[in-house]
Amino acid sequence: MANTNIKKEKLHPMENLLRMDRIPHIWCPGCGIGNAVSAFAEALDKLELNLDQLCVVSGIGCTGRVAGYIKVDSFHTTHGRAIPYATGIKLGNPKMKVVVISGDGDLVSIGGNHFVHAARRNIDLTVICVNNFIYAMTGGQVAPTTPTPAYTTTSPFGNFETPSNVPQLAEASGAVYVARWTALHMRRLTYSIIDAMQKPGFSVVEVISPCAMYYSRINRLGDGLDMMKFYYDNSVIKHGEPTDNLEIDYQKEIIVGKFVDRERPTFSDALQNWLKGKGG
């Protein structure tokens, strides 16, 4: 077996941020979730946040497993309901910094209703949505974000439905910070996550990620790395672009950047002001 005389070196720069006793993780080679987690870990490192005050909540799916690998108080909850669970934690202990990391199916399909309302209320949460256009954990079914006319196991003749536009949904619901990057835009993604976490209110960072096992394979788009490069090469940075232009379409470029950065009182601010106003 391996040479047991090798000096024990530090395994990973982010060793104190990851649950090393659970590495190797379950994600496939070429999956973009790894990039998202690295960017998140990098952001935490740069933020110099007290990690005891950080809480990560995720739903069900491949991205939903992220909570299990980050060494902070973390919760792996039910499908689509990470946001209301996170709302409970945030309102229960307002000093916590709560981050929801979940996939596109979890956040805008089954969790769509909760996504809309938490954005409307402007609950102080950061949502990192890893969008791989498919339900990967369950075997490659169509998702609301699947572009036309991609093939999936439940759209075996090609998807004809209009895909969701996550940044548009977030903006229309009231989110105060919305950004999108591809999995290879590592540095820009890191800085967006930092901005999102520092901004009070509901912030959404979408990460366009390949799915090496299902989406790429079923649609014959190469392997994970090929897709990652494809997304990066076909992306164009347009900060401030109107969100109704941001739909994903293979005939068009993927527009990335920071689209929304505005000010609104958070749910807690609004509540405090209201109580004061009522002579509480």
Partner: protein, 386 residues
């Protein structure tokens, strides 16, 4: 207990059942109410809304019942005592999260103000048809604690008891009540705060680096809990998990995890079960009743005793876990059980099972329009004792 400033309004008050429930929650230190408005539970929220700023509490109307219970579970992990209120259809929506609460062993209280009938039913009539749903509503194996008050005072007392049991056993507790009790207005007595005893969840006291979220105590099978932000960096998941809280997908872990969660209630039922017996010592026929029906049953017993019929009443304050031993003990002495329910036979099935053939069991459909009258119960009592 981590939250302070409990506002206990000691003294005698005239309150409805709903208001009494809210006061009970406040007395128990509840500082989080996440809900979705649905008749007839909404009055509980209204009372809580008037008072929650007194206790530095949080009140949030969520977008549906699913998210209401999710928010409650999240808040419970911050150390707060958290509660949600709903009715039958909302309770059905909460089924998945009850399972999550069981698996994560999260203390919380759910109040189900039952209506009559399936689906939307008759919104203003009392019902008792969610009793089996309280036990079996979610998927997978679990045990549940369910309490059934029969008056506004009982609503107050059992709400406090519900919080206490949920904290002690680290489990969601359900209060099954109905529109009649919730709208009834009666005098209730709120004791001094020093006389109110509420258990607190068992907190972990060892070294941070040795902390394992689901390392259970062998004397009670309950693992000590922590709150978020206390630096334990724990991970909990709804997947089957080992002591570290990490998912392990095999039958050994399923046995370790799920069997323990089931037995932590099953092996301690004697501590949880709460029943009231009225004139069962010399009874020949015993009525097994709960909730609003128990009031009519007690009236029936009083009336038929005047006519020489030796009837008694066994009132279930805890509907789940079910008092199996008590039913068998009574069955060996008497000839008949009568089980009146505002449904088409739910707890009746458990009575029949636990009687083990030693006594006959008769079901009576107590019509929701006839709640408040004992005539049907009396008729059946007379019939079986002829």
């Amino acid at each position: 207990m981590k939250n302070s400033n409990i506002s206990v309004q000691s003294g005698t008050h005239t309150l409805t059942g709903c208001q009494a429930c809210a006061e009970g929650a406040l007395s128990a230190g509840c500082s989080f109410l996440g809900y979705y408005p649905i008749h007839p539970s909404f009055d509980i929220v209204e009372r809580y809304a008037e008072r929650f700023s007194d206790v530095d509490g949080v009140l949030i109307q969520m977008e549906d019942e699913v998210s209401a219970l999710a928010a409650v579970l999240g808040a419970s992990w911050t150390g707060k005592r958290a509660m949600t209120v709903t009715t039958g259809t909302g309770f059905a929506q909460m089924a998945e999260h009850i399972g999550l609460g069981i698996m994560l062993e999260t203390p919380c209280v759910i109040v189900d103000v039952q209506r009559d009938g399936p689906s939307e039913g008759i919104p203003c009539n009392p019902g008792a048809s969610d009793i089996m749903q309280a036990r079996w509503g979610s998927h997978g194996d679990y045990e549940i604690i369910a309490l059934s008050p029969n008056s506004p005072q009982d609503m107050y007392d059992l709400t406090i008891k519900a919080f206490s049991l949920s904290e002690k056993y680290r489990t969601p507790v359900v209060i099954v009540t109905d529109t009649d009790i919730c709208n009834k207005k009666e005098k209730i007595n709120i004791p001094d705060s020093k006389d109110i005893k509420v258990s607190t969840r068992k907190y972990y006291k060892g070294k941070k680096e040795n902390y394992l979220p689901f390392q259970y105590d062998t004397k009670d099978l309950i693992p000590p809990m922590v709150d978020v932000m206390d630096g334990y960096r724990f991970h909990v998941t709804g997947l089957t998990h080992d002591e570290r809280g990490y998912p392990v997908m095999n039958d050994e872990c399923q046995e370790l995890n799920v069997h323990r969660i089931v037995q932590k209630i099953r092996l301690f039922v004697d501590d949880i079960i709460d029943i009231e017996e009225e004139k069962t010592d010399d009874a020949e026929v015993v009525i097994v009743s709960y909730g609003t029906t128990s009031n009519d049953a007690l009236n029936a017993v009083k009336q038929v005793r005047k006519e020489g019929i030796k009837a008694g009443n066994l009132r279930l304050k805890t509907v789940w876990p079910f008092p199996e031993k008590k039913i068998l003990e009574l069955a060996k002495k008497i000839d008949n059980f009568i089980v009146p329910e505002i449904n088409y036979g739910q707890i009746y099935l458990e009575v029949e099972r636990c009687a083990r053939g030693e006594a006959k069991t008769h079901f009576l459909h107590h019509d929701s329009k006839k709640v408040g009258t004992a005539e049907d119960i009396i008729k059946l009592l007379k019939k079986v004792t002829k």
